[in-house]
């Protein structure tokens, strides 16, 4: 990795770190919300659906500003978290939150589709064999939806790698602390002679995105082959 300068290398490493944490931390709530949306029947289902998709539609800067407003050290949640010495704003942990929020709709969407593709009659069969709803979920729904869950994780990871607007608004662009790959590209383009660094990072992000997309495509195809009663 000699061809990457220290600042570039830091940005790539931080992006991978942020994306990995964002994907892992959003996975449990993502599966839960996806299952709720796919199978649940409750009042407020469409409100929940809209809320989950909001970051997809809102300008990312707005999402970032809302995060700052809520999770900033003066914000209602941020002030509480600060007492537990957990500061999000202008820290890499905040970048994780911003990336997780922005990737959440993609994650939930992929998982929800794969759960919807699982034949509910198989879940009934599981219940008739003595499996509790939780056991049915763990032994029937989850394994059958696994390729879709993996596809959603790949998408969420790629989205987290590329998150720009909410990240730069919420945690700014501090080299070595909160500067991720896309914000680094932006920073390099702002200074004379930074094009070469920017180009190297662009190549890296194109490669990561392509791998992620192909991986998710491959896994999605496996979903459609499984999960139905033949």
């Amino acid at each position: 990795m000699d061809w990457l300068g220290p600042q570039e290398w830091q940005a790539v490493r931080l992006s991978l770190q942020v994306a990995a944490w964002a994907t892992l931390l959003s996975l449990p709530p993502g599966v839960w919300v996806a299952h709720l949306l796919a199978r649940g029947q409750f009042p407020g289902r469409s409100v929940l659906n809209a809320l989950v998709h909001l970051p997809l539609i809102l300008p990312p800067v707005v999402t970032g500003y809302l995060l700052l407003w809520v999770f900033g050290t003066q914000g209602p949640v941020g002030a509480v978290l600060e007492q537990f010495e957990l500061v999000l704003a202008f820290r890499w942990t905040g970048a994780v939150l911003a990336a997780a929020v922005m990737a959440f709709p993609l994650l939930v969407r992929a998982i929800r589709l794969s759960i919807e593709a699982v034949d509910p009659r198989l879940e009934q069969a599981g219940a008739s064999l003595g499996a509790s709803p939780l056991a049915v979920f763990a032994t029937v729904t989850l394994p059958l939806a696994l390729p879709g869950i993996l596809a959603g994780m790949v998408l969420a990871f790629a989205k987290s790698m590329g998150e720009f607007g909410a990240t730069i608004t919420f945690v700014s662009n501090i080299p070595g602390q909160t500067q991720t790959l896309p914000t680094a590209v932006y920073a390099f383009l702002q200074v004379p002679g930074g094009e070469a660094s920017a180009l190297r990072l662009v190549v890296i992000s194109v490669v990561i995105s392509m791998v992620a997309l192909l991986g998710s495509e491959f896994l999605a195809r496996r979903v459609s082959r499984r999960g139905r009663v033949s």
Partner: protein, 375 residues
């Protein structure tokens, strides 16, 4: 072992309003498609919440809407065999079979009944196979084994043979007969097929448009044209007998009420008790013992009743040593022969009219022995 159901529920403009009891043995919920059979079975399995119902199994309440009791399906110990098998595609045959076992007996428990059930269903060779490449008959055998290994107190079989062709049906039916005879698990069996009723049913509940329109022993229901989806054309009698010998020419001799009956296409060993479905339209009546006739089975009897039937037809009920035999004739024939109560005559049945699907091993606890009255 008794299941007792009293249920009201409406699905859109279809309403279900049924009461019935199912004792040990195989109780068949019988009726046309759309009569509400599967919904009723689904309510027992707990697949939906009925609007008003009281369902109990062995005196234990599963559902009581008045007392707000609804036991969830996984805590009912009601095993299900569905029409479409519903095997888990991500598990192989062995894992499918053992799926319910761990919930019934705990994770550590050894499946002591695994080998006998695998053997009974002939699944030894399939255990390590995936489920997607199994044939329809194999799938249903695995589904049956999977349900049995979950140690159910009641087994629900919802048209388990409907998706199979005739040959495969004949492969699966004997397993249900063995189930009834060897395991003693009560079975609620949903079917629209009179031949399945004749072969399996200890008791029949007839449903139409969501209501119970009749119930009784298989032989009583199959003798009642107004209870049968096919009307008069479905009427049949059931005779109980014992296989005596198989002759060299392929004809099997079955003793029915002291008389030999010659049938073709039975592979059952001598001594097996069987029950035979004889369709009323396959029976001819002759006043004198016919000579020079190809039919092998000529059974003397006495007309018990002549019942007017559909259109130009009528059903004649004969009492014979073999049991009650029904014959479907035209009214013209009845006039020509002057058949009325008390007329002595002969029932003529072609051997080939009783097909393989009409012949069943009968279980020890199912009493199909005909009343030994000779008129």
């Amino acid at each position: 072992m008794t299941l007792s159901v009293d249920l009201r529920h409406s699905f859109g403009d279809f309403s279900l309003d049924a009461r019935f009891e199912a004792p040990a043995g195989i109780t068949v919920l019988f009726g046309r498609s759309g009569a509400g059979k599967s919904s009723l079975a689904g309510a027992v399995a707990g697949l939906f919440r009925p609007e008003a119902a009281r369902i109990s199994l062995d005196g234990e309440t599963l559902v009581d809407t008045q007392r707000r009791v609804f036991r969830p399906p996984h805590r009912r110990r009601v095993g299900c065999v569905f029409q479409d098998g519903r095997l888990f595609p991500h598990l192989n045959v062995r894992q499918n079979l053992l799926y319910g076992h761990r919930f019934a007996s705990g994770w550590q428990a050894e499946a002591r009944d695994f080998d006998p059930i695998v053997e009974m269903l002939g699944l030894e060779a399939l255990l390590e196979r995936g489920t997607t490449d199994l044939s329809g008959g194999e799938r249903q055998r695995v589904a049956l084994g999977r349900a049995l290994l979950s140690k159910p107190r009641l087994l629900i079989a919802d048209e388990p043979l409907a998706a199979l062709d005739e040959g495969r049906k004949a492969d699966i039916l004997p397993y249900f007969e063995r189930l009834r005879d060897e395991l003693g698990i009560p079975v609620l069996y949903v079917s629209h097929s009179a031949s399945e009723v004749a072969r399996l049913a200890s008791r029949v509940i007839v449903l139409e448009a969501g209501r119970v329109i009749g119930e009784g022993r298989a032989e009583d229901v199959l003798a009642a044209p107004d209870l049968l989806p096919g009307g008069d054309s479905g009427v049949a009698s059931i005779l109980g007998g014992r296989v005596r010998t198989r002759h060299a020419d392929g004809v099997t001799e079955v003793e029915v009420g002291g008389l030999p009956l010659f049938l073709s296409g039975i592979g059952l060993p001598a001594g097996t008790t069987v029950r035979l479905r004889v369709r009323a339209s396959d029976v001819m009546i002759s006043l004198t013992r016919p000579e020079g006739l190809s039919a092998l089975n000529i059974i003397p009897g006495i007309v018990e009743r002549v019942m007017p039937g559909d259109g130009s037809g009528a059903i004649v009920r004969l009492r014979a040593a073999a049991g009650t035999i029904l014959a479907r004739l035209t009214r013209r024939s009845i006039r020509a022969l002057n058949l009325s109560e008390g007329t002595a005559c002969h029932a003529v049945i072609k051997s080939l009219a009783i097909a393989e699907a009409d012949i069943a091993r009968s279980g020890p606890q199912v009493n199909v022995a005909p009343e030994q009255e000779v008129g």
